[in-house]
Symmetry: C2
Subunit: 459 residues, 2 copies
């Protein structure tokens, strides 16, 4: 019976004293004269399995020579382990080498720097840290689908190549099949000859298109890649990342916040329930207090407060700010931190000054603010941003004109307001930002399998 | 109590004779002197709700004037319907207009051509056909995640922007931030100044990268967009589409076929179970016999046969072929059709001539074939393709040299064979191809929300 370690550890009692076969890799190997110990993992779960073999095996000598990193099949009996902290070990009856590992293998049983592992990104999921990180990535992605699907949301695949640039002016990647060398030679750019007959780019958001789905299905969400050609080299910027953008009809800003809060709690709980070993590992070695932070979030009451009130609190605070808070302006990282500590929990900051927010947001009656919201969480700052969308055709058009936008290009978007448009809202969550929050792994390069940043495009 | 139609129809008995509120859109409207009927849908389920109102309502006159397409909130009692084929209707107590619909609304309660609806793609999910199609798209996507996640596969997000072009030579979209006008002026292309410091494109497959995950997690799958700059205008080609690419370590071609068969049956069954009304609709109006085709697939035994045997059967067939079948060559659509009819069910064609297959496929001992497989299904032809991957470093390198490929660029991929590489296999399924099979909607433009084809890039 060939089993994954995941299956064995899910029901150790059932497999105790049973003969099973496992297939995976040697993570470490200690040999003595008459027996040896293999630290074995098949990657299906965080926990390894110790395999004990002795010189009664016909190929004992060969086994003692096996390299770290090699792929093996092992048949043996699962027995109670004498070693503290591990329930089982395997008494080996038969071991076959499935794939050798050369001695220049970069992943050795010692501490590697994250920089070194980034340079060997294709091997890093074989380390405990990255094995845990990318499993959490997978489980969290599933939790998001599960949350929305079980609540009747329709999953919408937003287009990636787009001819619209209304949200990403100047920070978009161009997509083309024009021959650049030929352009250099001819001295001419003719977009009518480009693949789509016009200039196209990679999308920065699927929201506007998602609104078309919300007004047909009532509830929809995207979960897909988005791109930004931003020349930033910070810990939180990548040029290709995944976003979740739910959009809901007959939903105002308050209901939008209800959904944001409920979804976040669901996903955090799902990851705590389904990746307990990974979370314990992160808690011990990456971010002390992570588990408590996540557990606390689930039972927190999220505060809801106007932007204006927040500025008032910040101004009254006995703090020497690097960036003095100001009415009508954005808030800085130091302010985000202060405000979540002030309320001792997550905070929805709502009703933002319209001049620092996007054109499609619902204009409030005060003429100064829009029905936008950012969610600030302790230890991570802004995790999501949402808004009620302007459903009034005339107001939307005049706002676009104010901002010098081309309304022709977005006629379909405007038409949504003429054809049974209604109060509707949505939000966006950067998936990698969520993962940084969930794992404590603080560099975005370490939560994306193969990250793209300025001058980095390997694999 | 505000409810989705989906909730009401999930438990009609619970809501019978209860007062509830629904929010959605007017699909049709018939009015008489003293009462009127609104065909109402909120998009959350395929079934509409008939709303009956009469002149006892204070705003009766206004209601009679409501346009098709308008967004409304309605509170009323759910009562048994006298109309055949509908269980419930709503006796309206209160109706509020949430968003008017202008009279030039393109979606009227009549038959629109698919071409017309493609031109109004942002409104087409409001029609029965497209509402059903894109709901099936969402449900099928979830079924795929569910299948793999419940079996311990790790979801892998393959990078979209790539500097590698080993699989897509000549048919890739270039991604750049170089200023094309400046190139035209300067007469020079300098990729060292491009965003990533080199020439980059959109990926055509995440498989090679997925192999790195398989050799760490044992079981992995991708589900993401892929791109091909193919200048084809057929019913089955789009330039941006979604692919599923599972990859499994310690898995040979036979086990690979087991997984392909099991996954397909699971997804088909999940859609039959969760979209029964949609499937009935497609069966009645799109593809007669669809439901039987899908139901039959679930209990079919998939045939497994060598490519060479298939050619033999085709050659012996009493058919005048447009493209005569030949040993060592690919098979045509007419052959695919014949062979699934011959075996009266799905057929795995395996062990293909190596010269017509990709470099990474496992070379068989005969020196002529590779351990590749295509799945042919009745009525749709090729639905998936897979292979065992060549795990032998030397054989892989020499095959790449034979094909004139640059091995430096894929050193990481080759290294997988030196660092605990093992027998491993995988397959790819075009998501849209699956949807065409599931819905009977035969044009790929009609199963992608916003399709990209040559000279088409709207929204």
């Amino acid at each position: 019976m060939i089993l994954d370690l995941k299956e064995i550890y899910a029901d150790t009692k059932a497999y105790l004293n049973k003969e099973v076969t496992v297939q995976g890799w040697i993570r470490n190997h200690r040999k003595q004269k008459e027996f040896g110990f293999i630290d074995f993992s098949d990657g299906t779960t965080f926990t390894h399995l110790q395999i004990v073999y002795d010189n009664k095996l016909a190929n004992f000598d060969e086994i003692t020579k096996l390299h770290i990193g090699s792929a093996i099949s092992v048949t043996g009996i699962l027995i109670p382990s004498p070693k503290e902290g591990q329930e089982l070990e395997m008494q080996c009856k038969e071991l076959t080498l499935e794939g050798d590992c050369d001695e220049d293998y970069p992943i050795q049983p010692k501490r590697h720097t994250r920089e070194f592992l980034r340079d060997n990104a294709y091997l890093r999921p074989r380390t405990n840290l990255f094995n845990a990180t990318f499993r959490v990535r997978s489980v969290a992605a599933y939790a998001i689908h599960k949350y929305f699907q079980e609540r009747g949301y329709v999953y919408f695949h937003a287009p990636l190549i787009t001819a619209s640039d209304c949200e990403g002016a100047g920070e978009m990647f161009q997509v083309t099949t024009l021959d650049l060398d030929r352009i250099a030679k001819s001295g001419e750019v003719d977009y009518s000859k480009d693949f789509f007959g016009k200039q196209t780019s990679l999308t920065v958001s699927g929201q506007l298109e998602a609104e078309t789905w919300a007004l047909a299905y009532k509830k929809t969400y995207t979960f897909g890649p988005t791109f930004r050609a931003e020349n930033s080299n910070t810990k939180t910027h990548a040029n290709e990342f995944w976003m979740i953008e739910p959009e809901i009809a007959f939903c105002d800003l308050d209901q939008d916040m209800d959904i944001m809060e409920d979804m976040l709690k669901y996903v955090v709980k799902y990851v705590l329930d389904n990746c307990p070993l990974e979370i314990d590992f992160f808690d011990a070695f990456v971010e002390k207090g992570l588990k408590e932070k996540l557990t606390k979030l689930i039972s927190s009451k999220f505060t809801r407060i106007d932007h204006e009130e927040v500025i008032k609190i910040l101004k009254e605070a006995d703090v020497k700010w690097e960036f003095p808070p100001e009415y009508g302006e954005d808030i800085a990282k130091e302010h985000e931190k202060y405000i979540t500590e002030y309320f001792n929990g997550p905070v929805f900051i709502k009703n933002w000054p319209k001049d620092i927010k996007a054109f499609y947001m619902k204009q409030n009656a005060d003429g100064k603010t829009v029905a936008a919201v950012d969610l600030e969480v302790p230890g991570a700052g802004e995790l999501m941003g949402g808004s009620q969308r302007e459903e009034d055709y005339d107001k939307l058009v005049s706002r676009m004109h104010e901002l010098g936008m081309n309304t022709d290009e977005l006629d379909w978007y405007l038409n949504l307001r003429r054809y049974g448009g209604c109060v509707h809202s949505g939000f966006g969550m950067g998936f990698e930002r969520l993962l940084i929050y969930l794992t404590g792994v603080e560099n975005i390069r370490d939560v994306i399998p193969y990250y793209r940043t300025p001058n980095n495009c390997d694999y």
